[in-house]
Symmetry: C2
Subunit: 453 residues, 2 copies
């Protein structure tokens, strides 16, 4: 007897119910992407390792799944390389392809490769799985979907505003209440500049980011440990206690950053994005948050993060403005802004708040019981009519015991059962039983269609 089969750790099977729920999320996002004029592309699961390596830092390189070359993969590998015990170097000899790690690098590669076919600004979206050889843990998988929308080739802040509207639309359609957090990398750079520590932007931001968790005193202590001067720390204090409306916060920041050109540009950008977004109207809560430092090494302007208001879970969507997406592939100077929806966390939020619509998981509306050849033949014709009317219906394939067929309908949560016996064969009318209430009625095919439409 064979061992019970399993799947690689960190990967998942999705049952019909889970798949239906995931499709509901993907379909909602895709619909909004299309409505906003983003165009879907797809790229291969496998990319050349030369495309992927060096794009995610040293740690990222280690997390790439590499694909063993086909055929005689040992050809051309020297004894030295074999015995050298340098796995990274040897891997580069054995493998020339890897699974994509995100959708951003393949997108950059796509833009450069197809630059002559693209109209700028290019608004693209992509909903595909990515793979990371991360240590699996709760909520972290080795295969998971990313849902990314980006626009490249335009520096206009209208793109940022549109992405915020997109976020607002998606979560409104999913019925999830969100807080949209906004920041700008130029503000962070301005802060570091103004307090005389332009190189310590990361340390400063990391410390500020902890304020909710550890309090002001401990943040200041951490800044001291990082070698930030007392003058600088006191210059920072008003930023640590920002409160009030977004405009009130902006005024404080503006005053503090009045000596930094970069910082002032950041404030201007934030103000334009916030004002335009407010002018267009939105349902979500929008908060300026100077401690937001998501993707600090990557983003160059606007930084966006989304939190669910009613579930304690990390960020469920994030994005920002970047410069020079494609420079590494030989096409410099292309700026863009993008957003990425975290499907797995959105799934968890919808589950915890019980927000998945009932309708998405019960696709079959009526099961026809099979009493034998003649009855089944009539049932099959009715099933065909129902399907032509767009109603999902099925005939139980085997003429087994009624009890077994009813148990099947119950287990599959099929709401109605159609019964065709002698009487029904004669009259052409079908007994339709609603399983929840137990009520029965004699209906024609047309009446069933009307009832179930």
């Amino acid at each position: 007897m064979a061992q019970k089969p399993s799947i690689p750790k960190g990967t998942r099977d999705f049952s019909p119910e889970e798949t239906a729920r995931r499709n509901y999320i993907f379909d909602t996002i895709r619909k909004a992407f299309n409505l906003f004029g983003y165009k879907q592309i797809e790229t291969p699961a496998m990319e050349n390792l030369s495309t992927l390596m060096g794009k995610y830092g040293e740690e990222g390189d280690k997390l790439l799944f590499k694909i063993l070359n086909s055929g005689d993969f040992m050809k051309g590998v020297s004894d030295n390389e074999l015995s050298g015990h340098d796995p990274a170097r040897l891997a580069s000899k054995l493998c020339e392809k890897g699974l994509r790690y995100d959708l951003t690098v393949p997108f950059a590669r796509y833009v450069v490769q197809h630059r002559n076919d693209l109209q700028m600004p290019f608004k693209r979206f992509q909903i595909q799985p990515v793979w990371r050889a991360d240590r699996p843990q709760k909520g972290r998988y080795r295969e998971f979907y990313q849902c990314d929308a980006d626009v490249v080739g335009s520096e206009s802040l209208m793109n940022e505003v549109e992405l915020l509207e997109l976020v607002d639309t998606v979560f409104d359609n999913l019925d999830i209440r969100i807080e949209l957090k906004l920041n700008n990398r130029k503000v962070l750079a301005g802060i570091a500049e103004i307090i005389g520590e332009p190189d310590k932007i990361v340390d400063i931001t990391v410390a500020i980011d902890k304020i909710d968790k550890i309090g002001i005193e401990n943040v200041n202590e951490e800044l001291r440990t990082k070698g930030i001067s007392e003058d600088a720390i006191s210059a920072l204090q008003p930023l640590l206690t920002l409160s009030g409306s977004n405009e009130e916060k902006l005024s404080v920041i503006e005053r503090i950053l009045s000596g930094s050109e970069t910082g002032k540009r950041g404030v201007e950008e934030l103000r334009e994005v916030i004002d335009s977004f407010d002018a267009r109207g939105h349902k979500c809560e929008l908060n300026l948050d100077v401690s937001l430092a998501r993707g600090l090494n990557y983003y160059t302007g606007t930084i966006i993060e989304v939190k669910a208001k009613d579930v304690a879970i990390g960020s469920i969507t994030g994005g920002g403005r970047y410069d020079n997406l494609t420079g590494v592939f030989g096409m410099p100077g292309l700026s863009g802004v993008g957003i990425s929806f975290g499907a797995d966390r959105i799934y968890d939020v919808l589950t915890q708040l019980d927000l998945f619509p009932q309708t998405i998981t019960s696709s079959v509306k009526i099961l026809f019981v099979n009493f034998g050849k003649q009855e089944a033949a009539m049932a099959a014709r009715v099933v065909k009519e129902l399907r032509q009317a767009g109603i999902s219906a099925e005939l139980y394939p085997d003429a087994t015991k009624m009890k077994k067929q009813m148990a099947f309908a119950n287990a599959e949560k099929i709401p109605y059962v159609g019964i065709i016996g002698d009487q029904e064969l004669e009259t052409g009318r079908i007994t339709v039983k609603e399983l929840e209430t137990g009520t029965q009625e004699l209906l024609s095919a047309e009446e069933i269609i009307r009832r179930l439409s």
Copy 2:
């Protein structure tokens, strides 16, 4: 300057237009699958190699993409194995995971792994990519989608009939005229038995299969080369010249196979499937074809193949009945029947016959020209209204030259352009220009919605 990036051979990028067309195919198939009560599941791209190896024959094993183990993949590999120059053996040490080769083995693995959660009969569908390290050539890729529907846990021929209806529905919805070919493995076995060569079923079928290409004389010659006796060859002749209706063909086959129990069962099965399918009504042409030998080593009953009537291309869909799908994973005796739609070939057929609906590739209905801050603000509010009404609309993000923005609309095949200048700001009505005709009208937001809905 970096080298222009590329993708691995045999893989593809899909442009927005191609993706929209592929989605049209997948959506049409998915919709029919749902209507017929098949439930979608998804399985991981990576399976354990122990799940995949040995399931596709020796050649298949070589075509599996294997994934290099993470971390120190050389640990535990002996010098002997390294220098042994046995790539297959060494690969099994370096890799424990591989990319799925088809959707059938993962489905079998899924059924066994989740057997306690499944209701039988279990109707599942799956639309996901698979990977094969085949030599790439025209129409053959290393990554491609399969669209499979299977029902397991029921031996009723009603399942076969339903799959034929499903095929009929999908191609009717795609507007592709098809010929559905039907055969039964038991008939082939009966033929081999009756002519006294039960072991030569494959040789006989391969020879018969060529009749359209090489003619009867050459088929007979080939049978002789394979060591089939003259008596057997003459017993075969009526089968090589079958003609007339399906029932006429069945009568001839029935007479010839009257001495074979297996053959007679095959004829009975074919007759039941054909009669039931005909009784339910169908649009496609249905032809019994005893030379159809698709997946001979796999199928045990019904064999199905679909050809496009108006394009010379191989089979675009195929399937059949199999026994013991899950035996190899320790769950014997599970019979099923399935069908697989070939998305790439269907794409080619739709392209050649120019059958893709125009609507699927032009998603944005109206582009608003950007003349500056104030004008853009008004345009943004109109765009928001249109989107809320389900109309895909966008605002050009930059206030660049009108000519450039119009060129963008033209290149993107956006049918309407909305223009908001001084006059429009004042009156609140928008100039809407239809690009094809050049006609202009002054419309309110509501009127635009009515026009574009």
